[in-house]
Symmetry: C2
Subunit: 224 residues, 2 copies
Amino acid sequence: MEGSQSLEEHPYIPRDLKLPGFVPGVLSQSTIIGFYAVSSLLVVSTIFVLSGRSPKRSKTERWLMCWWAFTGLTHMILEGYFVFSPEFYKDKTACYLAEVWKEYSKGDSRYAARDAGVVAVEGLTAVLEGPASLLAVYALATGKSYSYILQFAISLGQLYGTAAYFITSWLEGDNFAASPFYYYAYYIGANASWVVIPTLISIRCWKKICAAFQVQGQKKTKVR
Amino acid sequence: MEGSQSLEEHPYIPRDLKLPGFVPGVLSQSTIIGFYAVSSLLVVSTIFVLSGRSPKRSKTERWLMCWWAFTGLTHMILEGYFVFSPEFYKDKTACYLAEVWKEYSKGDSRYAARDAGVVAVEGLTAVLEGPASLLAVYALATGKSYSYILQFAISLGQLYGTAAYFITSWLEGDNFAASPFYYYAYYIGANASWVVIPTLISIRCWKKICAAFQVQGQKKTKVR
């Protein structure tokens, strides 16, 4: 009986996942998602307004600055907390960041289980891509010549990470969600932005960089 | 007794790794490495000689073409075989590619054990980076405007993959080598080129791309 009790303690799949000392989350799903949505909206609208001060800046560039600020802070704060808090599921203080990962683990229990593939991808994302995303905001704001190659590098890192994240789950049986709802809402839905947006940005940067080399080529021909 | 016999069957660490049906390798270490070295030398020298036919091409570009041909074929043939041969350790035919992975697993038994992280990284490497590397040879040979951004993208993928490869091993206890010799020769030594060379190429491409945007910027200023 004791054995079956300890298996019933957490809401995650697989049911036989051992999480000794697990403390259930106390914040509701709507509180957790609502707070993330409102904070993100605050960041995005602040960047959008501030970036509009320069009349030379295009709408696309302003939206890109919003994206890099949003994704950079998500990587550094949310994912950074996960990477350096192996025991978040034992948290008793209702700390918001621990609650996020207790909730998200319903869509992918490998977070609570501390799967090495997930921790490696999240580690690279939080430590390298997070700060690099904030650098991309600065590069766009100041029109640096490395702006496109930096955005391309981070987007490619995000795509590689998301691909590895989905492939490892598939190889391990794709059975880490507490229900189809959590599977589609959290595991698929929450990650979809990090497939679609980096793909669009990569294509845009690729084209801009090719165009720059064509201009350089024309210039060289003229000089000759 | 039966249990302990089956544990003694393979030469890998951890000793309790289960590999039912394991067939020991028959080719010697020097045969395996020698064949890879001679084939690689053949590829590299062929590309180096052929690429020298155009007098406009710099030495650096010729060496880059050699690297991309070598790494592309390694990704597609060696790593491609591994990805699509989950039971290579049962091979009885002394097939060279199976022998390579039976030997390399002495440096990292996660290959024989089919660790999801390793298979995911090798899958992305073999299926995406392999063909892309051969495209880089073509792009360099024909002076395409996408040459630098393509080389940058593949190098970054190689660096991300190698980082994820080392980090997952470290998170899982870094105890997958049959001896310190295999650890340093195979796990560290054989992977070192895919850290050093992609780093150098990434830096070179980053600088070239930034320079192209500076030229473009100057041109725009002149036109005004």
